[in-house]
């Protein structure tokens, strides 16, 4: 149960993203007679301020958030893991320099740098991915570095080095498998963070541009009609909440399963 329900939600999210365009061919069609119309049998979630069906917009928004989340997390996890493990493994001057770079990036709180970057690069899904990756790699780099520092003196690594294995081979074959568990957990929670961040950027008008849909831009457009058509804000918000909750729940389970954190003592 604790895995099944969140798993189903995420499966639904991925399906909407992958086969969404076939389901939501009507997402930009204007039904002028139904402007701001509430939920009805013809349109489960009603219509928005231009008379577009909210359900279909939601499916298109799911695709946006899924693509951005998968894109940003894979890019930033790969880049961060690479930089972090190289930094930890090489040590010395390189390590000091890379730690300084990481510290500088960490000095920008949360999503602020991404907001500024997305604002300066201009709107669009590519720039959203770029801005969030530039901000996102740092967490993985710090984690990978710390992990490499803690495992690089293990016997099997020393043995591989004594056998003349190259640095690259040691990193890829002997270190990466050892440090991957916490990184996978971090990446899982990262998906939830990116879903919120993408929607946040779109809420500020910095994400995908109309007529394309994002859950964030749907919420922003809906706030103007809060009193007459609250479903415009509630529907995308609840969809996002379900996805983020599901990811967080699965992340918790995964962390327990991989036993990343030590257990605290009982009172």
């Amino acid at each position: 149960m604790r895995v099944a329900l969140p798993g189903l939600i995420l499966l639904g999210w991925a399906l909407m993203a992958l086969v969404g365009p076939a389901l939501a061919s009507d997402s930009n069609a204007l039904h002028l007679a139904h402007i701001l119309g509430g939920p009805s049998p013809a349109a489960w979630l009603g219509y928005d301020d231009l008379g577009r069906p909210v359900m279909q917009r939601l499916v298109v928004g799911a695709r946006t958030s899924f693509l951005v989340a998968v894109g940003v997390v894979s890019l930033s996890a790969t880049l961060g893991t690479f930089i972090g493990s190289v930094s930890g493994y090489l040590g010395g001057r390189w390590d000091r320099f890379l730690v300084l770079v990481i510290d500088i990036f960490l000095a920008f709180p949360g999503i602020l740098l991404a907001i500024a970057l997305a604002g300066i690069l201009g709107p669009g899904i590519d720039n959203v991915v770029l801005a969030l990756t530039v901000v996102g790699w740092v967490g993985y780099a710090r984690l990978a570095r710390a992990q490499v520092l803690s495992v690089q003196h293990r016997d099997h690594v020393l043995a591989a080095r004594a056998l003349g294995a190259s640095r690259w081979r040691i990193m890829m074959r002997h270190l990466l498998p050892l440090i991957s568990a916490p990184l996978i957990v971090e990446a899982t929670f990262g998906v939830a963070g990116i879903v919120i961040a993408e929607a946040g950027l779109s809420f500020l008008g910095l994400g995908v541009q109309p007529p394309a849909a994002s859950w964030g831009s749907m919420i922003r457009d809906g706030t103007r009609y809060l009193l007459v058509a609250p479903h415009l804000v509630l529907a995308p918000g609840i969809a996002m909440l379900l996805v983020v909750l599901a990811v967080n729940l699965l992340g918790d389970r995964l962390r327990d399963h991989l036993d990343v954190r030590s257990r605290t003592r009982r009172f």
């Binding site: 709180p109 602020l112 907001i115 500024a116 300066i120 910095l206 809060l226 918000g237 003592r265 009982r266």
Partner: protein, 309 residues
Amino acid sequence: MAGWIAQRLVSAAIVVLGVACLVFALIHLVPGDPVDVMLGQSAQPADRAALRTSLGLDAPLDVQLGRYLDRLAHLDLGRSLHSRRPIAELLRERLPATAELAGAALGVTLVLALPLGIIAAVRRDTPWDYGATGFSLLGVSIPNFWLGPVLILVFSLWLGWFPVSGREGAGSVVLPAVTLGTAMAAILSRMVRSSLLEVLGEDYIRTARAKGLGFRAVVLRHALGNALLPIITLLGLQLGVLLAGAVITETVFAWPGIGLLTVEAIKQRDYPVVQACVLVISLTYVVVNLLTDLVYGWVDPRIRLAGRS
């Protein structure tokens, strides 16, 4: 101790310099010519040249960086392209609103997180604990740009208790503060719980209980005091998240702070103002982190002595 403080100050100064360089680089990431983007294609050549000179974009990159850092050292943040006013003045106008919001949000965080965390730790594995866990999971999963409109819908439009937006009257800060403080309370309550559980397993707690001290005295006086260290650190770290979150929360509630100024400047392509806002918010974060570090080292000698051994 003095050596340790000096070391922390030097590394903070290096980070500040790096942050300033990165903020300087932002304007060079504008696709195409920044002057075209700011003034539009139809601007007069004379205006374009004037803007290029006033932004210093006609000099080589290293000279530009040198001038930028020099101006910063003299606390000169330049002028807004939109209102033509000095940016420092704009920031000074907006600062009280952001400080008020951050302070109120911090209050909401503590009021929610401390009782929740304490109850969850003391009543571990009971419905109380599960309830607190559920709250924190919801809290971190609800984005503030959705929580804000939902709170407006319920408490302003339906119940009419608070104003919808703006900063007029004492009640206007309540909804923005709750919006901003909830996510932080969710994270902090988990920290209070785990930190308190750690301490409650210590021998001196058993001694205190064996002495016959009441439950309240043991938890509040003996345990909480020692559990506070990691909680203070997390608060320091989270204050940055709070400042960044203020950008979105201020936009939702039209709260006239630095966050709203940042978003307005992005929309008006007023890049010097965007740079200044990002710089000021980030520097505040660095300073808060530094202070947290110093307080932590002062309270817990193990931290500042760790480097010596």
